[in-house]
Amino acid sequence: MELINNILYDTVYHSTPIILCVIGGMFAYKANVLNIALEGMMLNGAFISTLVMFFTGNLALAVILAILSTLVYGLVFSVMGITYKGNVIVVGLAINLIAPAIAGFVMKMMETANINLTNVNIAKFKINIPLIKDIPIIGAILSGHPPITYLAFIGIAAFAVLMYKTKFGIYVRVVGENEDSAKSLGIKTNFYKYAAVLIGAFCCALAGVNLSVERLGLYTNDMTAGRGFIAIAAIYCGQGKPVLSSLYAILFGVARSLAVNLSIYAGPAAGLFDIIPYIIMVTVLAVVSIVKYKNVKVRGFKNEL
C-alpha cells in the first residue's frame, strides 16, 4: 500500500515540470513555430528563482523575476525566429546553450558549485489537504504537493479551453495550419506566434521554479536533465492536443517513478523502466505516421517507397 502511494506521489512529482513544458510548448507547436528552447527556458526559470530566493528570501519576487527573465528569452526567440525569420532550431539551441552558461558564470562569480537555499524549508510549500490526505491512493495523488504542481494540472484543463474554445486559440491554430489564409483574413500572424512562444516561456519558468525552489530548495547546473526535450517528444506524440500530450508527459512521470521506487525490490534492473516511455513514443510516432500516410495518394497513385 505504502509502495503504491509512493509510486503515485512520485509520478505527480516527476510529471509536473514536463506537463508544464508540454502545455506551454503545444501552443508554439500549433502555431507552427517549433520551440526547442523549452529546456533552456525551464533552466533559466529554475536558476533565476533560486538566485533571487537566495539573496532576498522573497518567494513572490523570485517567481515574478523568474517569469520575467524567461519571457525575455521568449522574446529573443520570437524576434530572431519569427520577425527575422531565423532558423528556430538554431535560435532554440542557442537559448538552450546560453541558459546553463550564464548560470555557470554567475555561480563561478559567487564561487560556488551550486546554490543552496538554507533559508528555505521546502516542507512548508507542500499543501496538505485535510481529510483527503488520509484517503489511501487518492490522498497520495491529490495532497501534499507544492502550489505549482496543482497549477500544472489545472493548467491542462485551462489551456485546453484556451486552445479550443476561444478566438485566441482558434487563431493560433489557423496561423499554424495555413499562415497565408490567416494573413488573407487580416489576422496578425506574427502576433499570434509571439503569443504562443511567450505562453511557452511563462509555463517553462513555472516548471523551473517547481523543479528547483519548490521541490528541492537548490539549483545545480543542468538540473533540468533533458525534461524539456522529453516534453517536445510528448507534444509530438500527442499531436499538440492538451490532454493527450499531457498523458504522455505523465507516462514519463510513471516510468521514472517506477524506476525509482522499485529499485529497492528489483535492484539495478528497475532502471529498465526508464526506457519504457521511449519505446512507447517511438512506436506511437511510427504507428501514427504509418496510419496517416497509408492511404495518401499522389496523382492517383499510392505513395510507396
Binding site: 505504502e2 558549485a113 521546502i122 523543479l211 528541492l216 537548490l218 538540473m223 536533465a225 517513478s257
Partner: protein
C-alpha cells in the same frame, strides 16, 4: 525595417567578436609565484576538471596544495581551467616548460595513448612529469607501466567510506540521546529504522568502491553493537538530476532508512535536500559539503587533492621524482581522504551533557577504527583495484 535589420546585424557581429575574444582569452588564469622563502625554478601546473577551481572540493583543494607548495618549497604554480580540451592544455603547459602537470579531469587518452594518430603527449615531452589523479590509466594489459614520466594518484576512499558507515550506525543507534527530537523525524529503530541507503551515479568500480567500504563499516559497527541493518543500494542514478536523487532518497526514507549515502554528484544535492525535508540524515561526498544542509548531512567523505599535489611536487623538488612508485595511493592515514571534521553535525546535537558524553564516546570509537585501518588490523575491500566484495562477510547487514 531595413535600417533596423542593419543595426541588428551590426550588433550581432559586435557581440560575436566580443564573444570570440573572451573565449580565446579564457585559456588560463592565475599565475603566481612565491616571493618569500626559498626560490626554486620548478614550475607546476594544475589542470582543473569541468567543475572549475572554485568547486569547494576536488579542484579547490588541489589549488590549495599548489599554494602550499609555493609557500614552502618556493615553486611557481599555475592553475588552468581548459576551454578547448585537456590535451591542448597539457601540450601548451609542457611546451611552456612546466615540470609537473597535474590533470584532474577524467581524460587521459591523449596523454597515455595519443589520439588522432599523433604520438602520446607523455612521449612528446619526456622531461615533463604528468600526474593523473583519481585513475590509473598508465598501465598496459599485463600491468606494466607505459610511460615513466606519468604518475597516477589514487585515493583510498573505501577506507573513508568504512569510517562513514561505522559512524552512521553509531549515530543512528544513539539518535535519541544525540539529537533534539523536535528537529528530526527519525523512524524508530524497532520499526524498520535500522536501514541505510546508498545512491550511486553509475555501476562502476569508481562508485562501488565507496559502497563496499561503506557496507563493511556498517557491518563492523552493527556487529560491535549486536544489531542488524538493512542496506538499500541504487547504482544508476546518474550525476546530473537532483530531482531523481531526492525521490530515490525519499523511497529509502519512506522504507524506514534513517541515513542515505550519495556518491553521485548533483544527484547527491537532491538527496541532502530530501534529508532536510524528511528530517533524517544524509552523507555527501568529494568535498566538505556539510554546510549545504546544516544538521542534516552527517558528514562528507572527502578527497583532499592538496596532499598528492604537495607530496608529488615535494618529491620533484627533492629530486626523488624518479624513485617514487608510478602508482601513488593515498590512504586514510595520509589525510588525502577522510570524513569531515563533523563541525556542522556537532552544532545540531542536543544541548545536554548526556549527548556530549555519547558523542565523545563515538569519536573515541571512530578514532580507534582509523588507527586499526592505518596499522592494517582492519582490511577494507578496495573495488577500485579490482578486489571482489564478498557479501557473506557482512553478516549483520542485509543487502536488499
Amino acid at each position: 525595417m531595413k535600417k533596423s535589420r542593419k543595426v541588428l546585424s551590426v550588433l550581432l557581429a559586435a557581440a560575436m567578436t566580443v564573444g570570440c575574444l573572451t573565449a580565446c582569452g579564457g585559456g588560463s588564469k592565475d599565475e603566481k609565484s612565491a616571493d618569500s622563502g626559498k626560490k626554486s625554478d620548478v614550475k607546476i601546473a594544475i589542470v582543473c576538471d569541468s567543475a572549475g577551481q572554485n568547486d569547494n572540493g576536488y579542484n579547490q583543494t588541489a589549488v590549495e596544495g599548489a599554494k602550499k607548495a609555493a609557500d614552502e618549497l618556493g615553486v611557481e604554480y599555475k592553475v588552468v581551467e581548459p576551454t578547448n580540451g585537456i590535451p591542448a592544455a597539457l601540450e601548451t603547459l609542457a611546451e611552456d616548460g612546466y615540470n609537473v602537470i597535474f590533470n584532474l579531469e577524467y581524460d587521459f587518452d591523449a596523454l597515455i595513448k595519443g589520439v588522432g594518430g599523433s604520438e602520446p603527449i607523455a612521449e612528446m615531452y619526456p622531461d615533463t612529469t604528468f600526474v593523473c589523479v583519481n585513475d590509473n590509466p598508465n598501465v598496459d594489459e599485463s600491468g606494466n607501466v607505459i610511460h615513466d614520466n606519468v604518475i597516477c594518484a589514487l585515493f583510498d576512499v573505501h577506507e573513508a567510506s568504512y569510517i562513514a558507515g561505522a559512524l552512521g550506525v553509531q549515530v543512528l543507534e544513539n539518535k535519541d540521546v544525540l539529537f533534539p527530537a523536535e528537529n528530526y523525524k527519525f523512524t524508530d529503530l524497532d520499526k524498520g529504522g535500522r536501514a541505510i541507503g546508498f545512491v550511486g551515479g553509475t555501476n562502476s568500480n569508481g562508485i562501488t568502491v565507496f559502497s563496499y567500504g561503506f557496507v563493511e563499516g556498517i557491518n563492523k559497527a552493527a556487529e560491535d553493537l549486536g544489531v542488524n541493518y538493512d542496506y538499500y543500494a541504487k547504482y544508476d542514478a546518474g550525476f546530473a538530476d537532483p530531482a531523481t536523487g531526492s525521490t530515490v532518497a525519499g523511497t529509502y526514507y519512506n522504507q524506514g532508512a534513517n541515513l542515505v549515502y550519495a556518491v553521485a554528484g548533483s544527484v547527491g544535492d537532491g538527496v541532502a535536500s530530501k534529508a532536510k525535508e524528511d528530517g533524517k540524515l544524509a552523507i555527501h561526498v568529494d568535498a566538505d559539503k556539510d554546510d549545504m544542509q546544516p544538521g542534516y548531512i552527517l558528514t562528507s567523505v572527502i578527497k583532499n587533492t592538496s596532499v598528492p599535489v604537495f607530496d608529488i611536487t615535494k618529491a620533484y623538488v627533492d629530486g626523488k621524482i624518479n624513485d617514487i612508485d608510478r602508482l601513488q595511493t593515498f590512504s586514510l592515514a595520509s589525510g588525502a581522504t577522510d570524513i569531515t571534521d563533523l563541525t556542522q553535525i556537532k552544532n545540531a546535537l542536543a544541548d545536554t551533557d548526556e549527548a556530549q558524553a555519547k558523542w565523545d564516546e563515538i569519536m573515541t570509537y571512530i578514532d580507534d577504527l582509523k588507527a586499526q585501518i592505518a596499522d592494517g588490523t582492519i582490511k577494507v575491500t578496495n573495488a577500485q583495484v579490482g578486489e571482489e566484495f564478498d557479501p557473506g562477510t557482512c553478516k549483520n547487514v542485509t543487502i536488499k
